[in-house]
Amino acid sequence: MKRKKLKESGVSYAKWGYIFILPFFIAYTLFTLIPQLMTLYNSFFENYRDGLMQIGPNFVGLKNFVTLFSPDNTGSIGMLKYMGNTIILWVLGAVPQVLVALLLAVLFTSYRLRLKAQPFFKTVIYMPNLIMASAFSMLFFTLFSPVGPVNQVLVSSGIAEKTIDFLSIKVSVRALIALMNFLMWFGNTTILLMAGIQGIDQCLFEAAEIDGANSLQVFFRVTLPLLAPILVYTVITAMIGGLQMFDVPQVLTNAKGTPDRTSMTMVMYLNNYLQTSKNYGMAGAVSVVLFIVSAGLSLFVYNTLSKPYKEETKKRNRI
């Protein structure tokens, strides 16, 4: 009785909560939701420029999507090829990135090692992230160009017979892109994972050790399961970022995705449509596909990586 009465006459503070989160929702609607819906809308139209002439917008239904997935004369489907490129480039960079970050995070947070000068190391590994991706990419372009210092060293030291054209070999271009993405992002991931590990109760580590677990066991049985939520978050954000990979390969290959468009990512492909032709229809269609792929992969990663963690929680709740 008393409770009901209080609700009728009492003050509800909930509205303040809503007011405080309102700015986010306004910003989200204006800058994310509406553009997203507009992209979807645009993808159903023929809308581009020919010279100084504007053509469209004319409604064409799903024609842009059909074009996107039609094979060319050599039988390859551009969209699938660039999707494949993107995923390969991301995996090449992300796997070592997460592994190294995990290792560093464990080392930095280990109470037994007590590494000295930690702030210094943290700053150094974070440093590459502060450089603009395009500048970083330009640097690598200069370093690995046929007349660049790397080639000079290789040739003058006799390791290579003649200059190696790194930027026109599929493997080396992809490796360079992966390396750059790794260098730029492993610091960031390390710091996120460190925060995750520091959030784990130290007693658990001590308890495990008293029970006779060695470091490996502690890592796999204690650290990793408890880190799962943060790890899932890291992997998903890295994946969304990876699927939108653009600046590094764009600058390194001067927008060409050389050789044979094998380093052209989905967003570079999208960008091709937006440059001269201002083809909002096709670019919209690419964006929609990109969105579906990102959403699908995120769900997949979320479900597989957080499954053991979820089961653990369920079990614990049951107890």
Binding site: D50, I169, D260, Y269, Q275, T276
Partner: protein
């Protein structure tokens, strides 16, 4: 500490406000010039006296991947809505895409704003800037017949001669050019330093435009001939596989370079051959020019008058200065190694026995270029040329480097065309 920071921030704000007040108080006219590099800006600042009270605002965007055209298109499509001081007052365009602007309403008849005397200019430069009805929309400040630029010392070694007339006699057809390439290779030299070095020499002699009346993409026999020749040159090691603007190619212009031939017009000397002019590692004086296997031209910078400019008089004056002012045109030739678009001035240099370019070992380049101008024909151009030429070279570079087969490379080019120009029908 906090107080100091607050004070500093407050001062910064006050200064910022003062700065704003200062610039808006000065109500001078603004002349907005759009360009893709600094070349003309340099000449303009040196040789053109801007009237008091006019501020010149240069908007420079590199032309790579069509970035300049995009920037310009945005501005021109916004021209009617822009404020007077933000309108494009003059813009520069290259031969490869000038038609796009000349054939549109975005440019205006310059004879109506006071540029009427074309008697001294070369006919093709006026043709290029005229729409299908013959309305002239702009002028070029340079004329760009392109020559074969060769290293005298290498020619001496390979051909046994080094004087332009003798070299020309040995290189005046593609067959001879290829035969000499084999000789050069045998002596340890490259004939050219880029796979695309001879592209312009072929493409300028096309008998059909890139797209036909039905907007179908078509390959002219000249383009196919270029592909065939380059293929041969690369597999035989007659040329390097670098791109036309690559550092690897430019490094060949040093004294230590092993390349005999380059192709380029007068602007090429100062704009691209910095390495050759390097006082320590260059080889100034070891160069000479002749017409080469086929007459052609390359580039050229036209000044166009957009519709809606609020500085029409000034724009007309600039155009007149750079084609008809004898003093300025003379300075362009004498000081800047340009080949001006003023026949009278060029003739003066061509017939002057005391004139010679030190860079070319004393050769009178103006005389050579003057003779070549008769062979320049302006035909078979489209609004798509820049990116089709660029795209074809980029796509085929993969093939020439051995990464893909020819069919795949051409398919990559078609895909590029599809993305860049959706209206062009690809095979």
């Amino acid at each position: 500490m906090k107080k100091i920071i607050a004070l500093v921030l407050a001062l910064v704000m006050v200064f910022a406000l003062c700065a704003c007040g200062g610039s808006s108080a000065k109500s001078g006219k603004v002349l907005n010039i759009y360009a893709w590099n600094e070349e003309f800006k340099g000449f303009f600042e040196k040789y053109y006296k801007v009237p008091d009270g006019v501020t010149v605002n240069w908007v420079i965007t590199p032309s790579d991947n069509g970035a300049y055209q995009q920037k310009l298109d945005e501005a021109l499509m916004n021209q009617s809505k822009a404020k007077a001081d933000e309108k494009v007052d003059m813009f520069l365009a290259e031969a490869d895409y000038i038609l796009k602007y000349v054939n549109s309403d975005a440019t205006q008849d310059i004879t109506k704003i006071g540029v009427t005397d074309f008697s001294n200019t070369y006919a093709y430069t006026v043709q290029a800037a005229s729409d299908p009805n013959g309305v002239v929309k702009g002028v070029s400040f340079q004329c760009c017949p392109s020559a074969l630029i060769y290293r005298r010392s290498i020619a001496q070694d390979v051909l046994g001669v080094s004087e332009p007339d003798e070299v020309q006699a040995k290189l005046d057809s593609w067959d001879k050019f290829e035969a000499v390439a084999a000789d050069a290779k045998a002596k340890g030299y490259y004939m050219t330093a880029s796979f695309a070095e001879t592209f312009r020499v072929f493409s300028n002699n096309c008998s059909s435009p890139w797209v036909d009346s039905g907007n179908n993409l078509q390959f002219d026999p000249q383009i196919n001939a270029w592909i065939e020749q380059t293929d041969k040159f690369i597999s035989n090691g007659y040329t390097l596989t670098a791109g036309i603007w690559d550092q690897e190619k430019n490094d060949q212009m040093f004294k230590s370079g092993k390349t005999m031939c380059f192709f380029g017009p007068a602007w090429y000397f100062n704009f691209c051959m910095g390495n050759a002019q390097d006082p320590d590692n260059g080889c100034s004086g070891d160069w000479a020019i002749c017409e080469g296997p086929a007459a052609h031209f390359w580039g050229g910078t036209w000044l166009l008058a957009p519709t809606g400019t609020d500085n029409a008089e000034l724009v007309a004056d600039i155009m007149n200065t750079f084609i008809n002012n004898e003093e300025v045109c003379t300075a362009l030739v004498a000081n800047e190694a340009q080949f001006s678009n003023n026949q009278a001035v060029n003739a003066k240099f061509a017939s002057d026995p005391n004139y010679g370019s030190a860079f070319l070992g004393g050769q009178n380049d103006v005389a050579v270029f003057s003779e070549m101008t008769d062979n320049i024909v302006w035909k078979n151009h489209t609004i798509y040329d820049q990116l089709l030429n660029e795209g074809l070279q980029n796509a085929l570079q993969d093939y020439f480097k051995g990464n893909v087969d020819k069919e795949k490379a051409l398919q990559n080019f078609y895909n590029y065309v599809n993305e860049t120009y959706p209206t062009i029908v690809i095979p």
